[in-house]
């Protein structure tokens, strides 16, 4: 109903200082003599995260929420799950024709369709996952104001559900590579940790934006534009080698740079650029931390303002 204001959090702090036993100011659950888990409900601080134990208790809900996202996405569509293929393939064709053929953008000696598809695969996953997570809390506001469960599950399930589309478009990648006579290298296995890093990046950004979106719907309007700019700041349609050497470090601060370079190297059996990947992974960890922090800060007031 109302926003939490600075004054209110100050009042909370002082209320807490007065409250006896306020040192345990966390909503925590612990076994208690009475048998059931003990829950303490009191004014919260932003630093108190949803406990892992609680997330674990709700793991079945995460499964069903993710499954709902997936099953609802293509309900009442003619082409159904084919859309998960059409989106990346059509984008790849457009980029190949206009950028690869007409603009002659270099592609490090890889056939341009394979090159750009290898960039699109993680990029589209990232962008879809972020877009869905950002809208997820607002879309579920009704549920959030009627029942408690760890709110983190909502953007988390959005991020996970986008993985299904990713998996489907991955099959197309393998077909495309074989078509161009490129046999996936053994280093393709590196994709597994890379997918995980991509998902964590999407989760970090998605969580932060979903929380921000609860208060400022501007996020909804800014997001498509942000994603477009971000894509062109990422080596999706052009190779990193096009970027001047001295700017590479700055460029690597965009976590998608290291990730996409990593995808290309892993799939094609080229040496990984550990430096860039290291920078990107560090940035992902920072993003994730910031995302969780801003999410938890907003969590306590969701029900009052959505």
């Amino acid at each position: 109903m109302s926003n939490t204001t600075g004054a209110e959090s100050r009042a909370r702090d002082s209320a807490q200082a007065r409250a006896p036993g306020a040192e345990g100011a966390k909503p925590h659950s612990a076994r208690d003599d009475a048998g059931g888990p003990l829950f303490i409900l009191e004014p919260r601080h932003s630093s108190t995260a949803t406990s892992l134990e609680e997330l674990w208790h709700y793991r079945d809900l995460l499964y069903f929420l993710t499954w709902r996202e997936i099953s609802l996405r293509y309900k009442q569509t003619l082409l159904g799950v084919l859309w998960a293929v059409i989106q990346p393939v059509m984008t790849m064709v457009v980029f190949t024709v206009f950028l690869g053929r007409l603009a002659k953008v270099p592609s490090d000696g890889i056939p341009y369709p394979v090159f750009t598809y290898l960039g699109l695969l993680p990029w589209l996953y990232f962008s879809n996952a972020v877009t869905r997570s950002a809208a997820s809390l607002v879309n579920n506001s009704h549920v959030l104001s009627k029942v408690y469960f760890p709110r983190l599950l909502i953007p988390l399930s959005a991020t996970l559900s986008a993985l299904v589309d990713f998996a489907i478009s991955f099959v197309v990648l393998v077909a495309l590579m074989l078509w161009y006579g490129i046999v996936p290298a053994a280093s393709t296995l590196f994709l597994i940790p890379l997918v995980l890093i991509t998902a964590l990046a999407a989760l970090g950004v998605g969580m932060g934006l979903s929380a921000l979106n609860v208060r400022y719907r501007d996020v909804t309007h800014a997001l498509p534009f942000l994603m477009q700019v971000w894509m062109y700041a990422t080596p999706v349609v052009y190779p990193t080698s096009l970027v001047p050497e001295k700017w590479r470090v700055v460029f690597a601060l965009n976590p998608l740079t290291g990730i996409i370079d990593g995808y290309r190297s892993a799939a094609l059996g080229r040496p990984l650029d550990w430096g860039t990947l290291g920078v990107s992974t560090t940035v992902v960890v920072v993003l994730l931390f910031l995302g969780i922090r801003s999410f938890n800060r907003m969590e306590r007031e969701f029900a009052d303002i959505v």
Binding site: G6, E8, A15, P37, L61, L65, Y216
Partner: protein, 410 residues
């Protein structure tokens, strides 16, 4: 002595009304505000008077196995208390300890999606309410049978009738098995038969030793289900304890939306009007009468009649009375002098439950002088028409009154 399963100390919840109106704050607005008032943190407009404490200084304990009825007028803080206890929103101050997992039913069918089938919604809704998948697997057949939707279990719920939808939703809820169950007036849905089924299910849950918090306006339901009652008034605990005294306190304080006393300032438009309405008692039993005290005043001498309407808990008019034309009694008023009359209404063959009495001041066949929007309310606390041990309740959904029935050979 056992530890209380719920223990609340000094709980308060504040809403900021000023911000309430500006809930669609955009990013730009808050930047503008931050620039205008740069020394306030976060663009706060924390002016006094904009704050509203929906709850303040709430202290209470609930023992394991208690079925606590939470009652109070609209706006007394019942919903806020439920939201805080359900962890939907945090208290602004104070502390609550809960020794057990709580499931809350603030509505039925939270998270139901119209495109998903009955089966899919059972799992989704069940896990949202805190159940584990294994638990739902085990109770699945029971839920489907309870909801009577066996044939449609794989049909999207958007094709369900509203009755089926509600039954399915309540079916899931009714099979929750938490240590603490928090229930808002979900019983106010569905047809009469289903309501009865829900009440029975609630009683079962209560008798199973579970701790239940039940918020309701339905005093008959509170009386029949609850072992303790808590009355809230203006965000504070007005009373907690045995059900009967607390319910009586609530009824004497004027029930949910209507009052035991009403008074009206003079309108100054020369037409006759009510100045005060009251009743002799807030509670009666089946077949008793109730006395209504009416004060009328008019600035010019006139002749009036009073009409009454009795509404049941659902707001359905169930009876009509009139001093005229039905009873052929006109009331004459002298100019400028208030006149008090007592209307004996009854005997009233009514079912257990709450009733509202609406007053009309009229000139028969001619003009409506005064129709207050508020009603007086009273409660029938015991109804056993045939003295057979049968408890006749409004909440059964089979009507609010009964008439003699004579059997003779024909």
């Amino acid at each position: 002595m056992t530890l209380p399963i719920i223990s609340a100390r000094g709980v308060g919840k504040r809403y900021n009304l000023g911000r309430l109106q500006k809930r669609n704050t955009s990013f730009r607005e808050s930047i503008v505000e931050a620039i205008r008032t740069p020394f306030r943190r976060g663009g706060t407009t924390g002016t006094a008077g904009e704050e509203f404490w929906a709850l303040r200084n709430i202290d209470f304990d609930v023992q394991p196995g208690d079925v606590l009825g939470v009652i109070g007028r609209n706006g007394a803080g019942k919903s806020t208390l439920l939201k805080v206890l359900s962890r939907i929103t945090d208290p602004t101050e104070g502390r609550i300890e809960m020794r057990g997992r709580a499931a809350s039913l603030l509505e039925v069918g939270t998270g139901f999606h119209p495109e998903l089938t009955g089966r899919e919604n059972i799992y989704l809704n069940g896990t949202i309410l805190g159940m584990r998948k294994r638990e739902i697997d085990r109770k699945f057949d029971e839920i489907v049978a309870f909801a009577e939707v066996e044939r449609f279990i794989d049909t999207p719920v958007k094709r369900y009738s509203s009755g089926m939808y509600v039954r399915l939703a309540f079916g899931v809820a009714a099979h929750l098995d938490p240590e603490i169950l928090i229930v808002d007036e979900v019983l106010a849905v569905g047809d009469a038969e289903f309501q009865r089924k829900c009440l029975n299910k609630m009683s079962d849950v209560a008798q199973g030793g579970r701790t239940v918090l039940f918020v309701s306006h339905n005093m008959a339901a509170v009386r029949s289900i609850c072992s303790k009652a808590l009355m809230l008034s203006r965000g504070q605990v007005a009373g907690i304890g045995e059900v009967d005294p607390i319910v009586n306190m609530y009824l004497q304080a004027g029930g949910s939306s209507a009052a035991a006393q009403l008074s009206f300032p003079l309108r100054g438009d020369h037409r006759p009007q009510f100045t005060a309405l009251g009743m002799s008692t807030p509670t009666i039993e089946y077949g008793e009468s109730i006395d209504l005290d009416v004060e009328i005043q008019s600035e010019i001498a006139s002749t009036v009649a009073i009409e009454l309407e009795i509404h049941d808990e659902r707001g359905t008019p169930i009876a009509y009375m009139a001093t005229a034309p039905i009873d052929k009694t006109l009331i004459t008023l002298a100019a400028g002098t208030p006149r008090r009359v007592r209307l004996r209404c009854g005997p009233l063959p009514l079912a257990t439950g709450r009733y509202d009495v609406y007053f009309w001041l009229i000139r028969p066949w001619a003009e409506d002088y005064h129709i207050p929007a508020e009603a007086l309310s009273f409660e029938v606390i015991h109804s056993d028409p045939g003295e057979s041990g049968f408890d006749f309740r409004q909440s059964y959904g089979r009507g609010a009154t009964t008439f003699p029935l004579h059997v003779a050979d024909a």
